[in-house]
Structure formats: structure tokens, C-alpha cells
Homo-oligomer: 127 residues x 2
DNA sequence: TTAGGTGCAAAACCTTTGCCATCCC
DNA sequence: GGGATGGCAAAGGTTTTGCACCTAA
């Protein structure tokens, strides 16, 4: 399947890259609609899926039912505030050897790992 | 709100504790129904939520839309096979100091962390 | 007795899909 | 031209909820 460059797909990617956060599909849809007012939700979902397949973006399946997306490519870790629900990127260094150690110990083929912290963010712990 | 001990809630917890895996709500529903044939799905969902609130069980929000649940209380890590979708518990030692290090670095209050590996399980990598 | 719980069914959500028109290469 | 995409709306699947009836304490 040869990908075609469409305005819709490009805009979805742009919005996500510029977001700097981890928006839900619905939030992305809202922002894209400011640029392409008649874009449909189905198109946003389809393109989010395609961009994932192409490795352009990643789907974050953190807690909760709703998926969130992010545009960064390098692996990094996340912190989710249990009060406000916001998700932050962390600078914590990524342990590159972790995958290999687990692979050696389990016999599984380890492709990647994902580390998520949970607690209260700076703003919420003050309240 | 004072909790009452009902057969339904007790059975949901029992099933999950004995499962040793990470079943979806639907799978739990199926197994509970072998014991209480006329239990409703709503009750299973309600009790899964209550048991979470009480810290008896945990919801795993790994990839995919469907939530999975587990009965273990101590922190431990998971491996998800990207082909068969199964989730395995790992023996990998839990890094107890990790939360504190991140807390010190970020100023967030870190309650816990969750580490998930992704790849191919032993069976699937052979195929 | 009575607040909490259950069953049932409908509603609410999020996401995917089918279809046909449209657009890119 | 022809296959990839988009828009629209309906379908699909999971989870939540309202309500009347129970039931544990």
C-alpha cells in the first residue's frame, strides 16, 4: 500500500507534533477542525492509525479507556497525575540495557519497554 | 459509604485472584457466571471498579481498548506479546528507589510506577 | 429498617467500517 | 485511470447508568 500525502494526514501529524502534550483523538480532532473544518472523525482515527503503523507517532495506552497519542519518536517515560489526569514527559534517562536483560531472563523477544509513573503533579500536590 | 459483603463481589474477587492471568471484564464475567449464572455484566463492572477503589485489585491499562484486571497486590512488571496479545507477569526485580529519584528530580509526588515490556513471547517467536 | 447492591436494559462512549465520491500520482 | 483517501453515517464493542426490586447488617 503506497501512502499518499494528503492535507488531512499532514495536519493530524502537525497538530500532534506541535501539541507537546498527549492529546486524545477527540482533542486532536477538535484542533484539526480549526484548520480543516469539515474533516471527519473517522479520518482522524484512520490517520492516527496509519501514522502509528508508519512509526511517525505512538499510541499511549495509559490508564483510562481513552487512548492518547504523542508525536515524539525516541523512547521516553511518562508521569500521569492521578488528580488532574494530565500526562507529562520525563527526562529520566532511558535504560537501554533493560530490554536485553529481560530477554535473556525470559526467552521472550523484547522490542521495547514503557515506563509510567503515577502520582500528583506539582500543581495538584499543593491543593 | 459502607461496603457490604455480597456474594457477587466476593466471587468477582475470587475469580480474579485465582486466575493468575490478566483477564478482561468479559472473561471475568464469563467465569463468574459459572458460579452465579444470573449475575449481570453491570454488576461485574461495578464490582471491578469498587474493588479497585478499595485497592484489592488493579486495572491494567496496557495497549488496546479493552481493560484487563489483576488480583496481585505487590508491584511487578508485565510483558505483552504483540502477536497473541497475552500479558505475562515478570520476575524482574522491582526498582524501589526509582520513584524517589523521579520525585527528587521533578518535584512531583510519585506514588508508584508501572513498567511494561512489549515484544514476542516464546511461542509466538517460533512461528 | 434501610442504605447499599443487584438485574435488566438502555444509554453513553470511543473506535472502526462500509460506501461512494474525490483526489493524488 | 486507478488505487488510496476522505466524508458521512451506521455499526461494533466496551463500559456506565437509571430504576425498581432485593438483601446484608
Amino acid at each position: 500500500m503506497i501512502r499518499r500525502e494528503t492535507r488531512q494526514r499532514k495536519t493530524v501529524l502537525d497538530v500532534l507534533r506541535r501539541a507537546g502534550s498527549h492529546p486524545t483523538a477527540d482533542v486532536i480532532y477538535g484542533q484539526v477542525r480549526e484548520i480543516i473544518p469539515n474533516i471527519s472523525k473517522g479520518t482522524v482515527y484512520r490517520n492516527l492509525k496509519i501514522l502509528q503503523e508508519d512509526g511517525e507517532i505512538a499510541e499511549l495506552s495509559l490508564s483510562g479507556t481513552v487512548n492518547r497519542y504523542e508525536g515524539r519518536k525516541e523512547n521516553h517515560y511518562h508521569f500521569r497525575c492521578m488528580r488532574c489526569g494530565d500526562v507529562f514527559d520525563l527526562d529520566e534517562p532511558v535504560d537501554k540495557g533493560l530490554d536485553e536483560r529481560v530477554a535473556a531472563r525470559t526467552g521472550f523477544e523484547v522490542a521495547s519497554h514503557r515506563l509510567e509513573f503515577c502520582g500528583l503533579c506539582r500543581d495538584c500536590r499543593r491543593k
